[in-house]
């Protein structure tokens, strides 16, 4: 059917459609007349808006008593079906997909064209502040599941003809629309072409969410580290496009992907750019310290207890010794036990109904933790250390999964080989991260390789007036941001 042209005879066209949908009862074919010319509207029950069809197609057609002058198809388009989005099609290409997405087609007897109408009835979620990236200052709009709305949200911010959108379809069964968005005068064409090529090469039966696409875009698929940026906020996407990045929007997903991706991106938050830079500087340093606490603290605690007790002040050592004497578990087993308990509580609280979640946190954190300490199974410092590392984990929520994994690795290394093990494992990870680039950008830039210009917006941040050039870490065409 895909390659066939639309026939002149109405019945033939209806038969082709019916055959394609295996005479499904959901496929509605409603015939009507416009000035003695037989027409038919085809749509899927439940997906197309019947009210709109009745009000704006059937009713005007039946009420029309004027004689047709000139071209019949043009007359219908301008006098009968008054729709803002109406498209003339000559073949059956993509017609089935469009019908399954809620579009309706009007066939006219004696004419080898059909009119495509945007009448989808599915209600979309309203634009809200995304729960994962709430901000104190700055825009609060978040992406929704409808790709058209999402494109419009970005276009609203970047109102320039240089903003290009390339539409692609992926998924043999889902025919999901994927839009690649970039600023033509800034983004590096080679990078854009590479991304489009990769998306075109995706051969999968269905794309349900943008993370399906993200996995295909990763350059090191075996890696545990995140390699594609993601955000739910149009302002963040716009800012990234202005730096020369490329955005990938997937129909049905409120998460927009951005490439190239660098680790430092997750340390940056929208808030940092909408407030005073001195505060942003402080907050970023705090976030960085939080990452270190999350990853290193449990391992260091074990290492100090087991091997390097000389490293801590005597008073502190005495306090720890007093609280850990008589425990049935070794420090290593104790921290591992509390860490696993923390992960279990986290998983359970995520999946439980909201009203039970509160009860769970009370039971888990207060009763379970307190009782375990009182029963002498675990020591208060271990609970405190894991709790602290658990809180700091969410100062960079985008990296929470990776950091959690690194925390386990460091805990194991600290337990087995003390600081030495931790040094080795972290060097191994840093060397590993230094080896991979994401679409022309070094993963650990601007620190490795050191790019002096880009350090202005890294862990430390300068005032926006001092950021006169685009980041060198990201390949781009036009270097000047201010004064050009």
């Amino acid at each position: 059917m895909e390659d066939e042209k639309i026939k002149k005879k109405l019945q033939e066209n209806i038969k082709i459609i019916n055959d394609n949908f295996l005479n499904s009862k959901d496929l509605i074919v409603k015939t009507f007349n416009v000035c003695k010319t037989k027409c038919a509207i085809v749509y899927l029950k439940g997906l197309a808006d019947v009210k709109v069809i009745s009000e704006f197609v059937l009713k005007p057609a039946m009420e029309n008593k004027n004689k047709i002058k000139g071209n019949f198809v043009e007359y219908i388009k301008t006098n009968i079906i008054i729709f803002p989005e109406i498209e003339e099609v000559q073949d059956f290409k993509d017609m089935s997909t469009d019908i399954t997405k809620g579009k309706a087609f009007v066939f006219l007897d004696g004419y080898n064209v059909a009119l495509k109408l945007e009448v989808d009835s599915l209600k979309e979620r309203s634009i809200q502040e995304p729960p994962t990236s709430a901000v104190l200052k700055g825009p609060r709009e978040g992406f929704v599941e409808n790709i058209k709305t999402n494109i419009a949200l970005v276009k609203k911010i970047l109102s320039t003809p240089n903003l290009k959108v390339e539409n692609l379809k992926v998924g043999k069964q889902t025919n999901t629309i994927i839009s690649v968005m970039f600023l033509d005068n800034i983004a590096e064409p080679e990078i854009v072409a590479r991304i489009i090529e990769r998306i075109k090469n995706i051969n999968i039966d269905g794309v349900i969410d943008s993370y399906y696409v993200a996995q295909f875009l990763e350059e090191h698929r075996e890696s545990i580290f995140k390699q594609v940026g993601s955000t739910e906020k149009p302002d963040v996407v716009a800012a990234k496009l202005l730096e020369g990045r490329v955005a990938i929007l997937v129909d049905g997903s409120p998460i927009v992907l951005t490439l190239p991706f660098m680790l430092i991106e997750d340390l940056q938050s929208g808030d940092d750019y909408y407030g005073q830079h001195s505060h942003a500087k402080l907050v970023r340093v705090i976030r960085f310290i939080s990452i270190l606490i999350t990853v290193l603290l449990p391992g260091m605690y074990i290492a100090i207890q087991l091997y390097h007790y000389k490293a801590i002040p005597l008073n502190f050592l005495t306090t720890i010794m007093n609280t850990t004497t008589g425990l049935p578990l070794t420090p290593f087993a104790e921290i591992l036990f509390v860490l696993i308990l923390f992960e279990v509580l986290y998983e359970a609280s995520l999946r439980m109904p909201k009203y039970l979640g509160l009860a769970l946190s009370v039971v888990g954190a207060l009763i379970l933790g307190d009782t375990a300490v009182k029963a002498g199974l675990i020591s208060p410092p271990s609970v405190m250390i894991v709790a602290l590392s658990g809180i700091t984990l969410y100062t960079v929520p985008e990296q929470a999964n990776q950091l959690s994994l690194l925390r386990f690795l460091n805990t194991l290394a600290g337990g087995i080989l003390g600081f030495y093990g931790m040094i080795l494992i972290n060097l191994f990870i840093i060397i590993y991260l230094n080896d991979f680039d994401s679409y022309g950008s070094a993963y650990l830039a601007p620190y490795a390789p050191r790019i002096k210009e880009d350090l202005k917006d890294a862990i430390s941040k300068v005032d926006i007036t001092n950021m006169k050039k685009r980041p060198k870490s990201i390949p781009h065409k036009n270097d000047i941001r201010q004064g050009g």
Partner: protein, 371 residues
């Protein structure tokens, strides 16, 4: 696109300068020159500066050529293989010494006892991984740590300043220069850092400012080394010959009499990172030399052989640092090292002369053809 940036080369050179000098060598110099041991560092640095000058002069004239290309072009295949074999032995010996220093450093600072297998096995695994990755990756990684290392070093120097006594370094050169030169001769193994630049020839983009940048980094790091030796002499005086490893004993003995609650453990950790990196860099040079003097072309096989050799050497010496130091400071080894450190820059000079002669000959031929 070159593998390294100018900055990465400077950082690699700086790390190479400080890594080996702060552990056993201060005590070694003190054995010969007592409170004048820092003069050993001064004279050794002056010698190094001379050869660094030759290296930078050569670098300016040959910005894109690798060492292998230069050697093959001017000295032929056989001599190139011999030179690479000598380079392999040199960097291998440095790696073994650092490996042993690291183990010793760990035993005296981080652990009461550590099984040598638990120490060496993950260490070699990481070094093997570093060798598997290119110098580009290592260059990037040291860039992350160099500020941290600099802070650690400066902290390590500030802590003992309270115990510095000017009397300890006086009188200047009271025993003449002979003991100082003996120290320079015996401890020359810890110098010759310009060889790092020579090994990296052709792997980084050379600009107008490259030489001055390298010189700037070299000067700053060398000053730091001399200040460290001066502080060491000022704190320990003649007792310096037993203070091993220096980087750890200096802050410990100077400020904290107790072994518990040391506050300089951050410095210790940073120092460990530095030693691991330096072993990795030297082993990368070893691998490059090994591939160039043998017919092994498979990188993984090369890594396996070199790492096994390192393991066997560690096993043979049973992680005995004193024995390793005895070997590298023996008269025979010292002479070999000096020959090595002198001959490689001289070879560069000779190659430049050969090139000039060739150019002159070519000009003469062209002239005669025209006539």
């Amino acid at each position: 696109m070159k593998e390294l940036t100018e900055h990465q080369v400077c950082v690699l050179l700086s790390l190479s300068i400080i890594s080996i000098k702060f552990i056993v060598f201060p005590a070694l110099y003190a054995k010969f020159a007592y409170q004048n041991m820092y003069w050993c560092a001064v004279f050794s640095s002056i010698i190094d500066l001379f050869f660094l000058g030759i290296t930078l002069w050569f670098l300016k004239r040959n910005p894109d050529k690798t060492l292998k290309e230069i050697l093959l072009e001017n000295f032929g295949k056989v001599l190139t293989k011999i030179i690479y074999f000598i380079l392999f032995v040199y960097f291998f010996a440095k790696s073994v010494l650092i490996l042993k220093e690291t183990h010793n450093f760990f035993l005296s600072n981080l652990f009461d006892e550590i099984n040598w297998f638990f120490f060496i096995f993950p260490f070699l695994l990481l070094i093997g991984y570093m060798m598997y990755k290119t110098i580009r990756t290592i260059g990037r990684t040291v860039e992350i740590f160099y500020v941290l290392i600099a802070i650690g070093l400066i902290l390590g120097l500030i802590i003992p300043l309270t115990n510095f006594k000017l009397d300890n370094i006086l009188p200047f050169l009271n025993n003449g220069l002979n003991p100082v030169f003996s120290g320079v001769f015996k401890g020359n193994f810890s110098y010759g850092d310009y060889l790092t630049i020579i090994m990296l020839l052709g792997k980084f983009k050379v600009t107008e400012k490259t030489s001055s940048k390298i010189f700037k980094y070299w000067s700053l790091t060398t000053i730091l080394v001399i200040v460290f030796y001066l502080t060491y002499a000022g704190v320990f005086n003649v007792m310096g010959l037993t203070q091993n490893p220096a980087i750890s004993k200096l802050p410990l003995n100077a400020s904290f009499p107790a072994t518990v609650s040391r506050l300089d453990w951050v410095t210790i950790i940073i120092w460990t990172i530095l030693l691991i990196f330096q072993t990795g860099v030297y082993m990368i040079f070893c691998l490059e030399s090994f591939i160039n003097f043998t017919s092994v072309t498979n990188k993984s096989v090369g890594i396996f052989i070199v790492i096994t050799l390192l393991f066997v050497s560690a096993l043979a010496l049973y992680l005995n640092l004193e024995l390793s130091v005895k070997i590298v400071t023996s008269n025979v080894f010292a002479i070999i090292t000096i020959l090595m450190q002198v001959s490689i820059p001289l070879l560069l000079l000779i190659s430049e002369m050969i090139k000039k002669r060739r150019c002159n000959n070519n000009d003469l031929i062209k002239k005669s053809v025209k006539e």
